[in-house]
């Protein structure tokens, strides 16, 4: 697993056509039959793109395989049936050279099949070159037409109604005649119609004919239905998200317009809306939490609690708090060390918001193996700690006292005119992981918007 992780990291994960990456980090595309550049069914091109080899080699391989009693032909037919057509309405004709080359290889393949049969590699000679060959060509016509019909449908849904195509009708008709005729001649030649079981053979062959003619549309129909259903689910999800976002964003915009005269209030609203959007998109802590945090009940992690506290201070005092949290840990039960730490950090932020006179506050927290360190910093007026009145209990009680009671430590550095930084250090008892996490009894100060489940979203 250590080999080369960068590629996974660099892959755009949203492209539904990409099924994975190779060891160079290039995306591997899902096997489809592209419309552009196809000669018969687009099978060879699709395989060439999927395996990233030259299409010539794939065609040659099919031709050589045809030597073995027509295995190549059979494989081609099967792939044509089961590999879905690539989405795309544009129809690029292959270049004349490529077309000649492709048809040439097909001819060589057919010749090889015949050759193989005459050399005794199989007994299908009479069938392949005879009436069954005709039936196969008819089948190819019909399948090709079904491909086109499907593309037409896509195009119709994309740009509106497209007129009926006469050539399609002729192709189906011709194909049907070839299939029916080929099978009939084959039956007449191979079986004694009057003999016992003749009727059975006729029925079986009729069924084969009907299958060749009808199955292409049936398969496409089923496949399209599946695709439509998936599309519907995605649309519903999108609609839900949109409904939620539009609702809250519109509300905020309305509030902003009403209070346009108060820049402070406008800023506050904009920040709170931004925070909500972010928590929707990237998780409550500004980004997703650490792997394994699923085990933690609810949002009971330090990163989330700090982000919530920062949001609350932002909202109340119209300042900007930028939280950066490295690592994460479980909060533990109510009244735990971590709750005390978050409360102290909140108090430090409130102090900065109230007294610093600069609306920008940095919050940085680092969760290590054995301790959590939080820094709250402003670039405000600063103060001389000795001059702070004894009546101001915020610093002494809410920050220092709280940290001391929980075996932590608070260090305050302040320079008048430069700013203040409060450093909070708390030894850690509960780490994220197998340790049973308790539900906090202290409610979150701000209801955090639920985030979409990461697994659900990424598997979309």
């Amino acid at each position: 697993m250590v080999t080369s992780p960068a590629p996974t990291l660099l892959t755009p994960p949203t492209d539904p056509r990409v099924v994975g990456v190779d060891r160079h980090g290039d995306p591997i595309h899902r096997l489809v039959r592209p419309v552009a550049g196809r000669i018969v069914g687009g099978v060879a091109i699709g395989i060439a793109e999927h395996l990233r080899v030259r299409v010539l080699w794939v065609r040659l391989a099919f031709a050589v395989l045809a030597l073995l009693s027509g295995v190549g032909v059979l494989a081609y037919a099967m792939l044509w049936i089961f590999v879905p057509q690539g989405v795309g309405t544009e129809l690029t004709r292959p270049s004349a050279t490529e077309r000649r080359q492709g048809l040439g290889i097909s001819a060589v393949g057919a010749a090889l099949a015949v050759l193989g049969t005459t050399l005794g590699l199989g007994q299908s000679l009479g069938w392949i070159v005879g009436p069954l060959g005709l039936a196969a060509v008819g089948g190819a016509f019909i399948w090709r037409e079904a491909d086109d019909a499907q593309r037409q449908r896509w195009r119709r849904s994309a740009v509106g109604v497209v007129g009926e195509r006469r050539s399609g009708l002729w192709r189906i008709l011709g194909g049907t005649i070839l299939v029916v005729g080929g099978l009939a001649v084959f039956a007449l030649g191979q079986f004694d119609v009057g003999a016992t079981g003749g009727a059975l053979v006729a029925v079986a062959l009729t069924l084969v004919g009907v299958a060749i003619i009808a199955v292409p549309w049936w398969i496409r129909l089923v496949r399209d239905l599946g695709a439509e259903r998936r599309e519907l689910v995605v649309q519903q999800e999108r609609a839900e998200i949109a409904a939620h976002l539009h609702d809250s964003v519109l509300q905020t915009l309305a509030l902003i317009q009403r209070q346009a005269a108060e820049p402070r209030e406008v800023l506050r609203l904009a920040r709170s809306q931004e925070r909500e959007l972010r928590s929707w998109l990237y998780g409550p802590a500004g980004y997703a939490t650490v792997a394994g945090s699923d085990q933690v009940v609810g949002d009971a992690t330090v990163a989330v609690a700090l982000a919530a506290a920062a949001g609350e201070v932002e909202d109340t005092y119209a300042v900007k708090v930028t939280p950066v949290v490295v690592g994460d840990a479980a909060m533990g039960g109510g009244g735990s060390d971590m709750h005390a730490l978050v409360a102290a950090a909140r108090e430090a932020m409130i102090n900065a918001a109230k007294h610093a006179g600069n609306p920008e506050i940095s919050l940085y927290a680092e969760v290590e193996e054995d301790a959590v360190t939080v820094f709250v910093r402003d670039r405000g007026v600063g103060f001389d700690e000795n001059t702070v009145g004894t009546d101001r209990r915020g610093l002494a009680e809410s920050i220092r006292g709280r940290m001391d009671r929980h075996h932590g430590r608070a260090t305050i550095r302040s320079t008048p005119g430069v700013g203040t930084e409060v450093e909070l250090w708390m030894p850690i008892a509960v780490r994220i992981g197998p340790a049973p996490a308790q539900t906090p009894t202290v409610p979150d100060p701000i209801p955090v918007t639920p985030t979409p489940d990461p697994k659900q979203v990424s598997s979309r």
């Binding site: 250590v2 996974t8 990291l9 990237y282 500004g286 980004y287 997703a288 940095s362 990424s458």
Partner: protein, 219 residues
């Protein structure tokens, strides 16, 4: 004053491009000059290779592959271009992705015009620009977690204690000058450390780094 740094804007929102342009012009800063802008990946690649700006301000999220596609395509034809990612998305994966694709820095769109101009000048001079959040991401990605895979290349896959300290101070919102005085080193040394961290972030094959970004993939 030497010749101003030429800047090119890439963002799919015309309104935002106009905003940045106006803000940078409003600074009347003779260190930088905006030479062009583009709204799509294709347009950006063509125009950047034609205009040859010193610095490209690159939006991370765009249709047709985003900033990373621009980075890769331009890099093949005009490797001298310096990219500074400018994005509203703080998604860890996006940030690490553009950095690993070759961007010299990452700043969020909420940055003030003055800070943006400083950042542009700094990346043009060969430095790296780490916003507090990016510093946090990188610290997190290089942190040792229990069960981590063994290091392949210790030189690349680990941060030195000094680099860690510098990153921590960056994450705490310190400016280079403040970091220098806090650690009793010169600003030049701070820059060297930051550049070294950038190189490690870009080059490291550290398993943690990729898993870290994948773990945090939400959207």
């Amino acid at each position: 004053m030497s010749t101003p740094v030429s800047v090119f804007l890439v963002d799919d929102h015309a309104l935002f491009r106009a905003g940045v342009r106006a803000e940078l012009a409003g600074l009347a800063d003779d260190r930088i000059v905006v030479v062009g802008e583009a709204g799509t990946v294709g347009e950006a690649v063509v125009r950047i290779t034609a205009e040859r700006p010193a610095v490209v301000l690159l939006d991370v999220h765009m249709p047709d592959g985003g900033g990373r596609a621009v980075l890769q395509q331009v890099h093949a034809r005009y490797p001298e271009a310096v990219f500074l990612a400018l994005s509203v998305s703080d998604a860890a994966e996006d940030v690490i992705n553009v950095i690993r694709a070759g961007a010299r820095g990452y700043v969020t769109k909420t940055i003030s015009a003055t800070e943006l101009a400083d950042a542009v000048v700094r990346v043009a001079g060969g430095d790296a620009v780490f916003s507090p959040r990016l510093a946090g991401f990188v610290l997190d990605a290089f942190s040792d977690r229990p069960g981590a895979a063994p290091l392949v290349d210790p030189e690349l896959d680990m941060l030195s204690p000094r680099e860690r300290e510098v990153l921590r101070l960056l994450a705490r919102g310190y400016a280079y000058k403040e970091i220098a005085s806090q650690l009793f080193i010169s600003i030049k040394t701070v820059e060297t450390h930051v550049s070294s961290v950038l190189r490690k972030t870009q080059m490291s094959n550290r398993y943690e780094l990729s898993r870290w970004a994948t773990d945090r993939r939400l959207v």
